[in-house]
Amino acid sequence: EVEETLKRIQSHKGVIGTMVVNAEGIPIRTTLDNSTTVQYAGLLHQLTMKAKSTVRDIDPQNDLTFLRIRSKKHEIMVAPDKEYLLIVIQNPCE
């Protein structure tokens, strides 16, 4: 069931890669190669933690629900949770 959900997300239009990272920043599932996955997992985990603490510092009643980073080449989407992070990289149509 986990695999089906991930496959559904991966087969969406423009999606380059999908990965699930646990609370320590260790990748659990991925569709990309090892070295890229490790790089994305480490960096995005840190960035998500920073974003979450920024939101909480501004308003302690608030919390981070979604993080999107748009770059020249693609868009990285992070759905955070207490235990996991879902990272999806999409190449949007220009």
Partner: protein, 509 residues
């Protein structure tokens, strides 16, 4: 029982000793009889067990995880992972859909650096003693850090075995107080240097090919004697001028490098730095007309010459054993390092020479002086010939995909841009550097930079792969100019790699 007569008898217990106080009067002196008893205090006993502790010394150390190693994906957290994914899936799919249809960012571009509108000349470097001898700049190279530029002086139009001394000069462009007329290092070389190549990882090692056929390697950081290795004028060495040298990683140890040299005597040789400053030949290839695959019709060579003179070499950035040669006959050749067939040549050599050619492309109207393989597409390469044309070839077919006439004079060098997949630069015999952007126009150059005022040719050019806005070009007046390109030439647009693929597919059909 005879009790001592007396009133009482006290007994005192005292830790084992006993006193009995006898109070008695004896009536008759019969005999003193006393009864004593003693008792020890109860012995305190306790049961205790002991054990000798054994000590052992042990050290623990964590091993740093290799950067590539990923902990094995655990399959245990099934239910919690499934619950998490169920929760976020809807949100993620909604965002993906919105993104796909969104026009919010169309045409939105961020400028992180100051945009540069035009091409400008940053430095004009020269070495007056070499200019005084009328030497041309025949080769330039940027080092691995992108801060040092080296140039080689020689002459490209000499027909005879000259004993002209020439120079290899380097300038460190990042240093303050750069004097454009005074190079930081000058090496005198007994023969004209035709080409240069800096080592890909060692910032101070540089290889050069000479007019005499020798290949030398210098270490620019040594001030007394910079010469590290040389081939010497042995049987193995080239007998004709060496037109291009390259550094290649060794097949087993990819951090060590070998030198590849090509020359018009038809040989492509691979050298390894050995002991005693001698370059040892590790592999050799010889090109002969009769061994070329007949993919295209070629003119019969004059005077029964069988060797194919090689004037340029470029390696594919995707396949490290595949390389393209430019020849005097004007036809590029596709070759492989892994070729096994023996070359039918009578040239003496310590290592068996092999025939590397796999495919022959259709020729230019004159000798090809430069080839360059695209760093972004595995099948595309450019060749520049003395007919003034640039041909864009695909490895898969013999006819060029497109052909551009850039000049009415010779073209001496062509290089793909290291950042923009559709841009390349060419050095022409008319004294300008032409920059072509295939996205804007595939018929004429986008920018034409005049290097020399009197139209003397520009012989060589190189992009700086670390500081991608810099382009260096050397000309026949002995000057090296470093051009700073406008932002249009250094920033990759969003879909350029796809556009390059499309161009190749479009033109090939």
């Amino acid at each position: 029982m005879h009790r001592p007569s007396g009133r009482h008898c006290d007994q005192y217990k005292n830790g084992g000793a006993c006193f009995t106080r006898l109070n008695f009067r004896s009536r008759r002196r019969v005999g003193l009889r006393s009864r004593k008893s003693c008792q020890t205090a109860s012995i305190a006993t306790a049961e205790v067990s002991t054990q000798a502790r054994r000590h052992a010394d042990a050290q623990v150390q964590t091993e740093t995880l290799e950067p590539g190693a990923v902990a094995p994906m655990s399959r245990h957290d099934g239910p919690r992972l499934a619950a998490f994914l169920r929760k976020v899936e809807a949100m993620v799919i909604r965002e993906l859909n919105k993104n796909w249809q969104s026009h919010a960012f169309d045409g939105f571009e961020v400028n992180w650096t100051e945009p540069q509108q035009t091409v400008s000349c940053l430095h004009t470097l020269c070495y007056p003693p070499a200019q005084g001898q009328g030497l041309h700049v025949t080769g330039i190279s940027w080092n691995s850090t992108g801060s040092v530029l080296a140039c080689a002086y020689g002459r490209l139009d000499d027909g005879d075995w000259s004993t002209l001394k020439s120079y290899v000069c380097t300038w460190n462009l990042d240093r303050r107080g750069l004097n454009p007329q005074q190079p930081s290092v000058v090496v005198e070389v007994p023969s004209a240097v035709m080409c240069l190549a800096f080592h890909p990882t060692q910032p101070s090692h540089i290889a050069g090919g000479l007019y005499s056929g020798e290949v030398l390697v210098w270490d620019m950081s040594r001030s007394e004697d910079p010469l590290l290795w040389r081939t010497g004028l042995t049987e193995d060495a080239h007998t004709d001028p060496v037109y291009q040298v390259l550094w290649l990683p060794e097949p087993q140890h990819s951090h060590r490098f070998q030198v590849l040299s090509v020359s018009t005597d038809g040989k492509v040789l691979l050298w390894q730095g050995g002991g005693a400053g001698q370059l040892q030949l590790t592999k050799g290839f010889a090109l002969l007309m009769q061994q070329l695959p007949r993919s295209t019709r070629l003119k019969k060579p004059p005077r029964g010459e069988t060797e194919v003179g090689v004037t340029a070499v470029a390696f594919s950035s995707f396949d490290s054993s595949l390389f393209v040669l430019g020849t005097e006959g004007g036809f590029p050749l596709k070759c492989s390092l892994a070729a096994e067939a023996a070359a039918m040549t009578r040239m003496p050599s310590s290592v068996p020479l092999r025939a590397p050619v796999q495919f022959t492309f259709s020729p230019h109207g004159g000798p090809v002086y430069s080839v360059s393989c695209s760093p972004f597409h595995r099948n595309l390469f450019l060749s520049a010939g003395t007919d003034g044309h640039i041909h864009l070839y695909s490895m898969l077919q013999a006819q060029p995909l497109t052909s551009l006439q850039l000049s009415h004079k010779y073209l001496f060098a062509v290089r793909w841009s290291p950042v923009r997949p559709l841009v390349f630069a060419a050095a022409s015999g008319g004294g300008d550097v032409q920059l072509v952007d295939l996205q804007k126009s595939s018929q004429k150059p986008t920018v034409s930079i005049t290097q020399t005022q009197d139209g003397s040719p520009v012989y060589c050019l190189e992009f700086n792969s670390q500081q991608t806005q810099l382009l260096a070009a050397g000309d026949a007046k002995g000057m090296v100019k470093v051009w700073q390109l406008s932002t249009a030439f250094t920033e990759q647009g969003p879909r350029e790699t796809e556009d390059l693929d499309q161009l190749e597919a479009q033109v090939a059909t």
